[in-house]
């Protein structure tokens, strides 16, 4: 299956949908003006994938930020994965001090009933681009 790769920009996330990789990935920032349009090719890829999905699908969400119109698209992705009827694991990453991102993950977990692993990642201090570890 042809992978779908999109390199992130200032307002769109990095997307790596590649069945030969251990995880499918959406990362960084998602605040496009038209999220509905931006996520279209992702749904097209997923629909193709659904024809012959892996026994287990691991989808990693490593978002730093998403706007409300992206939230809607994310909920659609999650519902789609739910409909695969195969084993699905969602890895939901959040920066240690980002309570809102953590809560978003919890919200999606509750509403979709999918298997979520919550993973905290170190805070990226954008003041001087150093990584603070405990």
């Amino acid at each position: 299956m042809t992978p779908f790769i999109h390199n992130g920009t200032e307002d769109t996330p990095t997307v790596k949908l590649d069945t030969s990789a251990p995880e499918l990935l959406i990362a960084e920032r998602s605040l496009p003006e038209d999220a509905h349009e931006f996520y279209k090719p992702i749904f097209e890829w997923l629909e193709d994938y659904a024809k012959n999905p892996n026994e287990k699908t691991v989808f990693r969400f490593e978002l730093e930020y998403f706007n409300t119109s992206s939230a809607k698209q994310l909920s659609k992705i999650l519902l789609f994965l739910k409909s695969l009827d195969k084993e699905v694991e969602i890895i939901w990453c959040y920066q240690l001090d980002d309570i809102d991102m953590f809560n978003s993950g919890k919200r999606f977990e509750k509403l979709t009933g999918l298997n979520f692993s919550m993973v905290s990642i170190p805070v990226i201090d954008d003041d001087d681009f150093t990584i603070i570890t405990d």
């Binding site: 200032e10 496009p32 706007n67 119109s69 809607k72 001090d97 509403l111």
Partner: protein
């Protein structure tokens, strides 16, 4: 709890009205860093590109901005008590750049003399004067020799004006105002009206009083939204959770203008205003944009509804809308207002001012404590 509603509404309208004739006004009021300076230049650049500004004007605006911003960063008060001020406005093809920075009273005489001299010189002599100063190299303690000011005067065909405003026995504010004209030098009339500083002086006083940190008035689109976000992110670096909340609210508020505001005639963006001011410990985010009169009722109902809900109800309403795929298109997810109300934990304040039979001006205010 204090209620400044009436006061605030007046401010949003007062500001918008003061910019009404301008095609672009961008004001930054606060501490200046190299990154902030770079971002301000980028914002002006994207705005100029968007309206298809000529390369010649762009170059002149650019170099005047760089010199002006350097003046501020070099002479800013590092205690943060007296904040620097930078404004760029575009009106009928003219660009106006104004800076305000702190100056010691003891330096006023020298600076005043230098500026009087600059203003008195015709362009050829100004060029010569620049060279003289460069050679003589009378470096002041802060590393400037007035070369920046001479350079600005040269680039603007000497359309500069200035003003000193005394703060106390030690310092004053130094206002420096420049105009870049779209007209060729030889065809130009000496229009002193263009370099009047009074308006910007009053505006600065108003912004100081209301603690306004950033204002963007002009055409909103996704590009300048990203620029504005970068500036705020930088300005609020190190403020952790608060920074995230403000970022969040800004995205939703600005995208509201981008998606739902009425486009201007040339359809290159939606005219509106955005500003942030601080009141005690709160940050107050304000937007203003045009909406069609027939959208008002619907918008009112939506805002009143989210305002009427408590925390749990908001949460349930958000979940319901998140999975409501009947509202799922390029324009709308149905989540924006709920998110604003949830994130700020305050009521959303709003107002509509009728413009004509077709449209009104809609202001929205969100307070983060």
């Amino acid at each position: 709890m204090f209620n400044n509603k009436a006061n605030e509404k007046a401010l949003a309208l007062e500001l918008y009205d003061s910019f009404k004739d301008a095609d672009l006004s961008y004001i930054y009021h606060g501490q200046f860093s190299q990154t902030i300076t770079d971002l301000i230049i980028m914002l002006a650049e994207t705005s100029m590109d968007r309206i298809g500004e000529s390369a010649k004007i762009k170059k002149r605006v650019f170099s005047i901005m760089v010199e002006s911003l350097q003046n501020i960063t070099r002479h800013q008060d590092n205690t943060g008590e007296y904040q620097g001020f930078f404004a760029i406005e575009q009106k009928d093809g003219y660009y106006f750049v104004t800076t305000v920075n702190l100056i010691y009273n003891e330096n006023i005489e020298h600076l005043d003399g230098l500026l009087k001299k600059i203003q008195s010189l015709p362009s050829e002599e100004l060029k010569q004067y620049y060279k003289t100063v460069l050679i003589e190299n009378e470096i002041s303690s802060k590393g400037g020799a007035g070369l920046g000011l001479i350079e600005i005067a040269r680039k603007s065909n000497n359309k500069v004006s200035y003003h000193f405003h005394r703060i106390n026995d030690e310092c004053s504010y130094f206002y420096f105002h420049t105009c870049i004209s779209p007209i060729n030098e030889e065809d130009e009339v000496n229009d002193t009206e263009l370099v009047r500083i009074d308006n910007i002086f009053l505006l600065h006083q108003l912004l100081k009083k209301q603690n306004v940190q950033i204002i963007f008035n002009g055409l909103f689109n996704q590009e300048n939204l990203i620029n504005l976000l970068n500036i705020i992110e930088n300005q609020m670096a190190g403020m952790g959770h608060l920074k995230r909340v403000v970022f969040n609210l800004m995205v939703e508020m600005l995208q509201n203008i981008v998606k739902h505001g009425i486009k201007n005639e040339a359809r290159i963006g939606n005219p509106g205003i955005f500003f942030i001011n601080r009141q005690n410990k709160s940050h107050i985010l304000n937007t203003g944009n045009y909406v069609y009169n027939n959208q008002i009722d619907n918008l009112k109902i939506k805002i009143e509804h989210v305002n009427s809900l408590n925390h749990q109800e908001l949460n349930d309403f958000y979940n319901k809308c998140l999975f409501n795929f009947q509202v799922d298109n390029s324009k709308e997810s149905g989540l924006g207002l709920i998110e604003l109300r949830m994130k700020c934990n305050n009521q959303l304040k709003y107002a509509f001012q009728t413009i004509d039979d077709e449209k009104s001006f809609f202001t929205l205010q969100v307070q983060v404590d």
